[in-house]
Symmetry: C2
Subunit: 153 residues, 2 copies
């Protein structure tokens, strides 16, 4: 596998990207869910929903990547790779949308201040949005690496 | 030019995509700027900034596309195409972020209601966010069509 593009499906770099996505999206979900008031805001509910989609997707692909690395025989069929690229692309758009929506609502809450945003909750919301941005970045990287690999199959 | 992918750089489909981007982003900017209160909210200022970047980019590329269609000799160099793809990609991410941030603040304003969101302004903000989403969609389409063309050069 030394002639492979690092980061494409079935390599150890891809495994670490997937694990990073799963960890950051779980952290984002946890930071948001630990604040019991998140369901008051549409944007926060949307973030929780999207992260709930990203976690199983990344975790499943991390398992497949781990299996490919151990067995040494990556699963390289154009159809499967195309499904993975499209899935990554859709999930990265949804993650970016959720992260931006959450961040803008947090900035707005900080601007109007007062009763809407107790400091204890606001810092958790901010951490959650930052984790969502990191998760988006890794999803977009996975999607681009796989897209780069597609024409060579 | 009948062997060209419709929508890639230098075709008439690309010209209409670029014109659509310029029209929708101008409409988004106008609907937002006509509300004199937009600078109170960070997300709305961000939307105006991003749309101010998208308008000259789309307009310049629309001119180049129009010239290519009239002359019948599209400018097809991998370096130029790569710059256009990266520019489109960055601007489409920024547009999506701005549109989501604006939409989530509008939804939040509608939820808390009252003095923060007079109906006359809120409908304009909504139209502006919708136009920004349309502009994002066309930018992403341009970027994908050009990316598809790149390996064949």
């Amino acid at each position: 596998m030394d002639d492979e593009l690092p980061g494409s499906f079935g390599t150890s770099a891809s495994l670490s990207l997937r694990l990073g996505q799963a960890i950051f999206s779980s952290a984002s979900l946890l930071f948001m869910s630990l604040c019991v008031e998140f369901y008051n805001y549409t944007a926060f509910c949307y973030l929780v929903t999207v992260m709930g989609l990203v976690i199983p997707w990344s975790f499943t692909l991390a398992l497949v990547d781990g299996y490919s690395v151990i067995v040494g025989c990556p699963l390289r069929q154009p159809g499967i790779l195309l499904i993975i690229i499209i899935g990554d692309w859709v999930l990265s758009i949804l993650s970016l949308a959720a992260a931006c929506a959450t961040a803008s609502v947090i900035i707005f809450l900080l601007e109007i201040g007062g009763a809407y945003c107790p400091p204890k909750f606001c810092s958790r919301y901010q951490l959650s949005a930052a984790m969502a941005f990191l998760s988006w970045f890794l999803s977009a990287a996975s999607s681009l690496f796989n897209l780069w690999l597609l024409p060579s199959l």
